[in-house]
């Protein structure tokens, strides 16, 4: 059996929706368990007082990266069939900044706002309404921004392709960067905890 299972026809379009539903439930569950249903927890990231978002997301990246590498090595996964979102350099930089801006102001990203709604948070609901309003505005304005939207296209691009660094070496570097980042964030959090302790009378 080779993955991606859908691409190898293990299940069809309809069944894939059920699989997506189950994966989505799992994703939401773990986001909630990581504390990401709370806007306070999420925005603490940007004040460097609680780096849980960074740690959880980078852990996921390293886990997935190692998993994909070894599954592919073992012949259980055909990486060339895994969907890669195509790269559009400038639009993605601008979009990333916009998303980050909204994240800081609103306290959520799209996925975590759904988690917040599931746990009954009104701010999450308002945030999601904002998303839909934004989607609508984007759709209406699309004819004017389509040119920019499709500019600087690079196609599906991976780090080994873009840098020329061998895949395995690059993966190792990502692992080390992640672990260094985790160590650094724990130091930051400890320092903040100490300061908070001093501030208390």
């Amino acid at each position: 059996m080779t993955a991606p299972l859908f691409k190898y026809g293990l299940f069809g379009d309809e069944a894939s929706l059920i699989v997506a539903f189950l994966i989505g439930i799992g994703f939401g569950f773990f986001l909630e368990r990581a504390g990401f249903g709370s806007a306070r927890k999420l925005t603490a990231q940007f004040y460097l007082t609680d780096l849980a978002v960074f740690k959880v997301m980078f852990t996921a990246i390293v886990t997935a990266g190692l998993g994909l590498f070894y599954l592919s090595w073992a012949g259980l996964l055909d990486l060339s069939l895994v969907y890669l979102a195509p790269t559009y350099l400038l639009p993605q930089v601008v979009g990333g900044l916009l998303l980050g801006f909204g994240f800081v102001v609103g306290g959520y990203c799209p996925g975590t706002s759904m988690v917040a709604i599931a746990t009954g948070k009104v701010d999450g609901l308002l945030f999601a309404l904002g998303i839909f309003a934004g989607v609508l505005a984007f759709g209406e304005a699309f004819p004017w921004i389509a040119g920019f939207y499709n500019s600087t296209a690079r196609g599906p691009l991976t780090l080994p392709q873009a840098t020329g660094i061998p895949y395995g070496l690059l993966l190792f570097a990502v692992v080390l960067i992640a672990l260094g980042g985790f160590y650094g964030s724990e130091l930051l959090e400890r320092r903040h905890a100490a300061q908070a302790g001093e501030a208390r009378p």
Partner: protein, 226 residues
């Protein structure tokens, strides 16, 4: 000598150590020759292909395809493997022209769903094998080719004495035909071609989509995020 004890480490530290070990080992082994997207060696499995052909799982009917185009789906690529002249004369809206000889070098990603068509079914079936041999898993053939597209979508016919359900379905097909610029046939007209007489000369509609038809490959973006 002090023994390194795993018990003294926290779960996080153990996981971190595991990640380092796995990452370090990865440096020395690389799937597909160092590039994740590199050419995998691909072994053709004739039996598997034969089962696929016999099972007819690789077919898309003209009506299904029309539905996809109507719905504006962009999760597949429609390739016209006839020569450029035939393509210029008429092609299914949204199709890209890829004459059979140019297919092997045509820029396609292996993770794309590809639908092929030719006039009948022979060239598209041959193109199917070419792509399968290159390891494309999601290759489909328009069942009956352009002939079926004409019969079922552009110029659908209602046989005389059809049941009520068939008439209802035909009403829907008439609308689809109108969308693609065709004209439905009914009554005696429909019987004529089947009766052994000469096929009436069919005027092919001008290719034009109500919405601007993408000439280049359709842009598709998938939204992903946390």
């Amino acid at each position: 000598m002090k023994r390194l004890s795993l018990a003294g480490l926290s779960v996080n530290q153990k996981l971190a150590a595991l990640a380092v070990v796995l990452g370090a080992v990865a440096v020395f082994g690389a799937p597909s020759g160092g590039s994740p997207m590199g050419d995998r060696e691909f072994a053709i499995n004739p039996r598997e292909l034969a089962v696929m052909v016999a099972g007819e799982v690789d077919h898309v009917t003209a009506e299904e395809l029309a539905g996809w185009i109507l719905a504006g789906r962009s999760d597949y690529r429609l390739l016209d493997v006839r020569d450029a002249g035939a393509y210029a004369a008429y092609h299914v809206p949204t199709a890209e022209s890829v004459p059979l000889a140019e297919l092997p070098g045509y820029p396609l990603y292996r993770n794309e769903k590809v639908v092929l068509y030719s006039d009948g079914g022979i060239h598209s079936a041959q193109a199917w094998f070419l792509l399968k041999a290159q390891g494309f898993p999601g290759v489909y053939i328009l069942l009956g080719g352009l002939d079926a597209w004409k019969d079922e979508v552009l110029f659908p016919a209602l046989p005389a004495g059809a049941a009520a359900a068939e008439v209802a379905a035909f009403e829907r097909r008439k609308q689809v035909a109108a969308f693609f610029g065709g004209t439905p046939r009914s009554g005696e007209e429909a019987v004529a071609p089947g009766a052994g007489g000469a096929m009436p000369t069919i005027e092919m509609p001008q290719v034009q989509m109500p919405a601007a038809a993408p000439v280049a490959r359709p842009v598709k973006k998938k939204k992903e995020g946390c």
